[in-house]
Each structure stands twice: as structure tokens, then as C-alpha cells.
Subunit: 362 residues, 2 copies
DNA sequence: CCTCAGGCCGTAAACGTTTTCGGCGCGCTG
DNA sequence: CAGCGCGCCGAAAACGTTTACGGCCTGAGG
């Protein structure tokens, strides 16, 4: 409410001096500085961010978009978790976060880059976005950090899990444990991690020289309801997979329900493994075997690389982190021993299925 | 990047005319307007929000704070859900959302109202905040809407569930069904809905002339882990409640796990009821009986009242909605029939417990 | 032909800062 | 005593808009 001008008038100095005092410039005497600070304090002065931005072209604001989709947006626990970490980390550098609401209505004539420029954010966070067309964002010429997928360009960093590798290793491990019949529930393929995990799945299957049954790889949004529906369809078929791998813990939790309702047991009849290791993974029954993403680390690193780009605007050394994951085996998967795997033999009941996919066909 | 001045120079008019054309003012001829619009288009012009804000003192931004606590912040599904709705609704009015990061560090010397004024948001959304001291926010003199708790003041609206009533009705209903031994897991009492629900619980117990066993009312943050720990402690005791009422579905899901691990069955041995009706309620086993909050409606209404306050700044008729809830009975609670309630008799094993609470002692 | 209304547009102030440039006055050195 | 440096501060421009005010010009009515 009160301005720098009012302070100046009251102290009897010029606005320039007030500004200098407030910003800890050296060339103002100790006594006038203290007088100014006292008056500013008692007038409850706070600078106007818009005015500051206008002249310094710095907003101390980083923008973020969310997908409106339930499975990929704010409502997914993974997103909420790393976002919380990111917020705390970037907050301690003095930044706030501008959440660009999605405009579905023809209210505004602005596109996405226009809105970025309009608000003149100092940086941009990309997370959980299936919207595609993110390349156009690079034309906005603002530092960008992407979580969970990598885009390259000028002043663009990223931090992701090694999704492909994680999934590939998972099927190797599972194969070693005797699993042969795999189902896979992938997420929306427009979102990069979903695609990478699917590719990892195919790669793993190929490496083990195993056959992918196309009717067992199905789409399920990163959502419990979708996971439920998809596995319900799968286990209604003539044959059943031994394990259902899911691209998200949410999907896996839905799968658990479908299996349970069918009167089957996890992991005795069907195993389930998820992805992310969300908080709920240890709460459901049976506890989810899952591949853990380092969520805290991802949030922290993202804040770090974005901050470094924002504070050193000209330097062009973006960082790209791809972090290792960790397989957390819990109860939804059978243990190492193979004695109760007797049903699985070398004779694959669907081995000659003509639709069988190899990895390179994808 | 390009400014109004450049457009003016290129078209050969003054900046005032450009501004008028861009803002659809009537007093500019059709031909100059179309010329201006065309040039603006091809120069990829977008106005600078800071400059606009400086002169109009309107930012088209609503601020929101989140609790850093896991149970009450962004990571709670309830918060994420209504926030998503709110965002979409307020977004269609042209607003974006400024997420004030919490500064735990001594980085900035600004308090909370200072930061609000600094950013000069047009409105404020309060949700899931246990931070107390929200009264001071009213001194910021900005329209405020609170979700899930009611604060009163000038230009302050609110939308909440009828928490007290909901919980009271719940124990009445449960009592009618034969339940006698109640446990209650309240949330952090600093957050209003937790307190209201607790009061409703006591009121219901009092109305039914039932005894509250103090060792069965325990604190649990709105989190699964806390619900697990709290019920684990409760069922380890010498006696066991028949039903555990939880102030949140998260807590209830944790309770489910603790009961399961103790080798007990839900609802045969112990019933569980939650609050919120989050997405996971129908995914866990057994499906949660819970009292549903009208999340979509809450998000929509909050956006509505905030928008009306922001667009009619002077009018002083804040709206306070308190919405009815709905009891959704599913599997975690026994059905109407009382034949299997034989264990519950008029003789209360703890009836003479000296620590027994009445409602008015709280 | 004169006047007046009204459509269209330009000038300039204003919003609240930051920052450059320069100036005053003091003390020190030669 | 002259000159110089330096600490401290003010004047003013600049950032990109909006908007009040006033002026010109055209056309219509008397």
C-alpha cells in the first residue's frame, strides 16, 4: 500500500536513496539507512513486485503447467510428491510458483508461449505432461527443466528415471525368478515415461527371447480405475498371465482389486508389480512390489538445475540427469524359489500365436 | 518481446490507439484497428502483465498457500482433487494461480501478508492449512475464500462440508446398526475440519448416551502411516472397539492394514469408516464405508464466490456455503442386520472406566 | 455559410520501482 | 591554499502499459 515515495517524503530523502537503502547498496550512510529502514518498517512497506519486474525483468516466479487428465496431473501421487519437494527447494531460493490454469474456453486468444511471455516467468517446470507439442515451448526462450522426460535445447535441463532400463531389468529379474507369462499395462503413450517403460518391457522380453502376447499388453491411464478395468479384461480371457507389470502404482492397485474380485490370489495366482513406489504401495494388500523412483532426489535436482540456469542466464550448460531406480520387492510377487512355478514349462500355450510381437516391431 | 510502442511505430499511430485497439475500445476506426491487430499478430505481440498490473492494479492471479505437512498439503488426495477443479473453474475466468512456496529459511524478511501484498494477487484461496493465525490474513484486505473451514470478515467467503453434523450423524447411524464400542482417529486439531469432526463425534456419542473411551480416541495425521500406527496401538490393548471412525480416508486405509496384519477381519471383527471418499476408497479391500464430501461442488463453488468477490470489489456480501455430506456404506462396515452383533450387549465392559469422557469435557 | 456534434486519434501523465549520471561538500595531500 | 578524491545523495530516465484530456476533421442541420 505504501510506496517508496511516501517513505522518501517522510524521511526527507529522495526515492533513489530509499531504494538503495532497501536493497543494501553500499553508498548510503549508516544513519540515513537506519532511519529509512525504521520508517519502512513502521509504514509496513513492501515493494511492488510488478514495478520491480518492469525494470529488472525478473519475477522470481517459475511457471508450471498441469495436465487436466486425472492420471498425469496434480492428482497423481507421484506428481504431487515431487512437486512438493520441488516447491520447497525452489522456495528457499526466493521463488514462487505460477500454476498456469488450463484454459479450455475461448476466453483468451493466447497460446501457451504467449502466456509464458505474458507472465514473464523466470523459469519453467515441465512435469507429467501428455500434451505433446512441448517443442514449441523452447521458442519461448526461458530456462526449462523437465521432470520425467528429456527434451533438449538451449537452456533446457531434465531429470528423469532410467525408465527403459528399469523396466528391462524388471523383466530380466522376473524371468530369473521363473516368470514366463507377462502382461503389461502401459500408460498413455504420448507421455514419454510411459513410452520408455513400454520399450523397456519389449527390450527385456526380447533379451530373454520371450514372446509378448499382444492381448496382454493393454493401455491403462495412470489411474486405479483404468488399472482395474484393464486387468479385469485380461483375466477374463482364456489364458492368464503369471504376472502383470504396470507402468504406475496406481494402475497396479487397480489390478490388485480386479484380481481379488475374480477370486484369485496375489501372488499365488497372479503377481503384480507397479512403478513409482508411492506411499500407498505399502498400505494395500498385498504390499506392492514396485520399482521405486527417487522422488525426493528428482524434485531436488530439478530445482537445482533450474535455479542454476536462472541465476546464470547466459551460460549454456544444461544438465540432464537420468537417475537409477530400485526394485523394491514386497508381497505382490513370488519369492526367489521356483518350486511353486511348476505350471510354467517350456511349452508356451500361445507360442505360435501369429500376432506375437517382437520388440523391434514397435 | 515486442512492445506496444513498436507496433505503434510500425503502423504509424500512437501507442494510445494501439492500446485501444487491442482492448476493444469503441473509439478506433475499423480499418486502423484491423491494421493494428494484423501487425500485432505478425509481431507475435503479447502484453506485459507487470506493466498492465502496475497501472490497473489487477493481476488476474489468485494466491494459494499449502501446508508443508504431508497430511494436509498438496499430497492429500482431497486437496489435490478440489484444487484441480478449482483451477479449471477459475482458469476459465482468466486467472492463473500463484502457489506461494513456504519459506522456512531466513531468506526473506517478509511475512505472509507482506508476500501477498508484494505479489498483489487479486484473491486468495485457503485450503488444508493448519498453520493457524489466518486471522492476520484478513488484514491484507484481499478477497479470500476458504475451503474446509470458515473464517469471517470483510470480503471473506467459505465453502465447507457440514463436518460436525456428518460425524454426528455417522455415529447415530452406526449406533442404530448396533455398534457400541467406538474408536475415533482425529486429525491434527489445529485444522478446523479435524476439530469439527471430533466435536461431531463427541456430540453423537453424547446424543446416544454412550461412553467415549479415551484410550480409543487418538491422534492420527491425515496420512496412511499415522492411521496404521494409531490403530495398531489401539487393537493391541486389552479390549477392542467394534468400529474405528477416521477423520480421513487416508487414516482409514492405514487402519485397514493394521487390522489385517493383526489377523482380524474387516468388518467381521472390526469395522472401519473413513471420511472424504477419495478415489482409493473403492480400490482397497474391503471397500471403504465413508462419508463423502462433495469435492467437485466445493471446488466449483469456491471458484464462484471468489470470482464474484474479485469482480465486484466493493460489494460486501460474502457467501458461506456449508454443504451436506453423504454416507456411502460399502464393505468395511457391517450391514443393517444386528444378528451378528451378539457380542454387543447392554453391559459395557468399560462402562465404569473413570476416564470416560463426555462431550462437554472437550 | 456557420455551428455543432461526434468520430477518431495524439499527448502526456501515471503506476512503483531501479539505476545511471552527475553534483555537492568534506577531508586529505602536495 | 589549490586541487583532488571520495562518500553520500538527488534528478531523471526508463520499464510497458492504461487512460484522462483535448484537438482535429468531417458531416449534418440551421
Amino acid at each position: 500500500m505504501s510506496t517508496i515515495k511516501e517513505i522518501a517524503a517522510r524521511v526527507g530523502v529522495s526515492v533513489a536513496t530509499v531504494s538503495r537503502a532497501l536493497n543494501n547498496y553500499p553508498d548510503v550512510s549508516a544513519k540515513t539507512r537506519s532511519r529509512i529502514l525504521k520508517v519502512a518498517e513502521e509504514m509496513r512497506y513492501y515493494p511492488n513486485a510488478s514495478a520491480q519486474n518492469l525494470v529488472t525483468s525478473k519475477t522470481f516466479t517459475v511457471g508450471v503447467f498441469f495436465s487436466p487428465a486425472d492420471g498425469s496431473g496434480l492428482r497423481h501421487p507421484f506428481v504431487g510428491h515431487v512437486l512438493t519437494i520441488f516447491s520447497a527447494e525452489i522456495g528457499r531460493q526466493g521463488y514462487d510458483i505460477l500454476w498456469f490454469t488450463n484454459r479450455k474456453t475461448p476466453f483468451d486468444h493466447y497460446g501457451i508461449i504467449e502466456r509464458i511471455q505474458h507472465r514473464s516467468v523466470d523459469g519453467l517446470l515441465l512435469i507429467g505432461q501428455p500434451e505433446g507439442a512441448w517443442e514449441e515451448i523452447l521458442s519461448a526462450d526461458v530456462p526449462v527443466v523437465a521432470i520425467d522426460f528429456v527434451i533438449s535445447g538451449h537452456r533446457v535441463g531434465s531429470v528423469t528415471s532410467d525408465n527403459r532400463r528399469a523396466m528391462q531389468d524388471l523383466v530380466l529379474t522376473l524371468t530369473e525368478q521363473g516368470y514366463r507369462q507377462f502382461a503389461y499395462l502401459h500408460g498413455p503413450l504420448a507421455v514419454p515415461p510411459a513410452m520408455e517403460r513400454l520399450q523397456g518391457f519389449y527390450a527385456g522380453m526380447a533379451a530373454c527371447q520371450m514372446i509378448v502376447h499382444p492381448e496382454w499388453v493393454a493401455f491403462a491411464d495412470f489411474t486405479m480405475a483404468d488399472g482395474y478395468a484393464a486387468t479385469k479384461a485380461i483375466i477374463a480371457g482364456p489364458n492368464r498371465p503369471e504376472v502383470i507389470c504396470c507402468a504406475s502404482d496406481m494402475t497396479a492397485i487397480g489390478a490388485l482389486k480386479a484380481i481379488r474380485e475374480a477370486g484369485l490370489l496375489v501372488p499365488q495366482d497372479i503377481s503384480v508389480v507397479g512403478f513409482d513406489d508411492v506411499e500407498a504401495a505399502v498400505q494395500v494388500f498385498p504390499n506392492l512390489t514396485t520399482v521405486r523412483q527417487p522422488k525426493e532426489q528428482m524434485g531436488r535436482l530439478a530445482a537445482e538445475v533450474l535455479y542454476s540456469m536462472m541465476s546464470a542466464p547466459s551460460r549454456d550448460t544444461p544438465h540432464h540427469y537420468v537417475l537409477p531406480t530400485e526394485l523394491i520387492v514386497r508381497q505382490s510377487t513370488r519369492s526367489q524359489s521356483a518350486e511353486n512355478m511348476s505350471r510354467v514349462g517350456p511349452s508356451d500355450p500361445m507360442a505360435d500365436s501369429p500376432q506375437a510381437l517382437k520388440f523391434d516391431t514397435i
